[in-house]
Symmetry: C2
Subunit: 335 residues, 2 copies
Amino acid sequence: MEEFAAVSGISRPTVSKYFNDPGSVRPSTRKRIEAALEEYDYSPNVFAMNQNRRKTKNIGVVVPNLADPFFSEIARRVELACIDSGYSPILLSSHGRPDMEKTNLASLRSLKAAGVLLAPFGRLSESEAIKAFDADFPLVLFDANMSDIGQAFVGTNNSQSVDLMVEYLCRSGEPPCFFEMKYPTNPNANKRRTAYIESMERHGQKPHIFQADGEGWNFEEIGRYEGGRFLSENAFPTNTVLCSNDRLAIGMLSAAYGLGFRVGQGAGCHIRIAGHDDHPFSRFTCPPLTTIAQDYEAIANRAVGTLFGMLESEERLTQRQETLFEGRLIMRDSA
Amino acid sequence: MEEFAAVSGISRPTVSKYFNDPGSVRPSTRKRIEAALEEYDYSPNVFAMNQNRRKTKNIGVVVPNLADPFFSEIARRVELACIDSGYSPILLSSHGRPDMEKTNLASLRSLKAAGVLLAPFGRLSESEAIKAFDADFPLVLFDANMSDIGQAFVGTNNSQSVDLMVEYLCRSGEPPCFFEMKYPTNPNANKRRTAYIESMERHGQKPHIFQADGEGWNFEEIGRYEGGRFLSENAFPTNTVLCSNDRLAIGMLSAAYGLGFRVGQGAGCHIRIAGHDDHPFSRFTCPPLTTIAQDYEAIANRAVGTLFGMLESEERLTQRQETLFEGRLIMRDSA
DNA sequence: ATTAAAAATTAACGCGCGTAAAGAAAAATC
DNA sequence: GATTTTTCTTTACGCGCGTTAATTTTTAAT
């Protein structure tokens, strides 16, 4: 920067000021800098910049696993929302490992992030580390809630969305059984189970819950193996299954195909399968999956908006905010 | 670090040495530092560390789009291979935007990456920027090749893999048509088309190529729309279609389902569909997709190994290396 | 106990930039 | 033209650490 300032004929502090905000220097000097920029293609070291800044423009975005298309989709929207507001998002995936969530927060500490948007693991998260981070940085949670952590949470209203699906399934055929992981890592899974039970009781139906054994992130495989087991044992008392999320449903769909079960609502179909989340692949399954779409756009925008509001007012929220958006029923052919 | 060194009773340079390599200090001082670490939970700022190091342990990994499960899968393996070798991978996705590929390389410049593994866009990449980067950093390309860029390339032997598939399809039924994007961004697509044509001619068959209109990364949607169009127009002269990649095949499978075409090789099936890449979802499609598995593991390990070899010898390769691994035929039910 | 080798300490500089203060220069106002 | 305001320049320090060189201390070897 020293050298670049010399060749452009401007002092280094002014050049520094320019890179911080090009509009903050006189138009004539701005032109000289930009002319020199054309010729010598210099660009400042972003990490050295943030080393010493009071407030950076870096926003940390941490998700549990980018290999899950659900998270890559919502992360993409969050990133775009940040960029639109003039901030630089830094996307970090924890690759399914809670210890890496901690590492990622440490990185964001080093980077002096202005604020962080975190989709935590939930039960598996190292909550002490997150709490410590929360104390020092503006933190907004999304997707998965954790009590008393973060100044705000933005997510989907699982009881509304599951009720919507249960209502639809009851109205259009036999009431649904519920298929989920036995040891879900994500707190939404618990909310959905509870919502299913309550909704079924409201409809005067008996809830039936089926839990898949298995650990890890290989949900489709678990859905196929365990779902296939329940199907072949004829374990479901009704012909309708609501899966806790689309990835399980995709696996179950695959199992049903393998067993020769026709899936759908038409005549000649043996079973109806529904999911939750509107996973990017759900529209391409055979048959296309009936599911609940989370309002990715609204969740991303609200999470980002809430964080930026905090950044601008420069004070912590007096009270923790929780915002839940409604899910939308996506009727396709599987149920 | 100053403070931490004070409370641990060790000088700062020694503490610095410890963090650089815990084994490089005397066991007794190591114990004292680690005891202090327990109590005061300090951790060095990774970005400040790299600011001034001769050789960092940072390896940049740049992929065009992490939202594509193919890339998230191979990136995962590359990351693990780096970690196993004691380096810190920094994974950057260009989100489908070639200009962001350039930005990502600039970030890695700032970070003083010891070396970079890059899966370039190919035709759309800003090759001047990559060349400039290549001149200053050890660079290994994987997945997609670009002539004269990078000191090495590691990928799949498309002519072998496509030939393997064509041979299988010809042997087990009618010879395949080829379905691809009209304007593929990835150089592998062109290699596969050429390989298909040559292989068909070797088998004494006439090649038939069908190209899908459409831009962007929404391959499944394009595969469904355009594949569905060809199917419903009865455009394919044989009952077998080889898709240039699995994502197109997944879309086409969905179209076939919608049109009531039974896919597979058994009696009563109308069409066979095959793909290429063994996409993580391919085993869950209905029917499961017959495809070519790239040897992710070998590609990742060789790419990482080649780069680390360069890092240790501290000199550029005298000649550009190209390593191609063979694809493996994965026979499932779709063809 | 003596000596050589290994490890730690002290002191100082550098990385690439942000930032603050004081003064000089340029632009805007009258 | 004189005055005020804005913008630059100069100078200097700091961020959090790596790294070096000279010196001292500790450990291992004789």
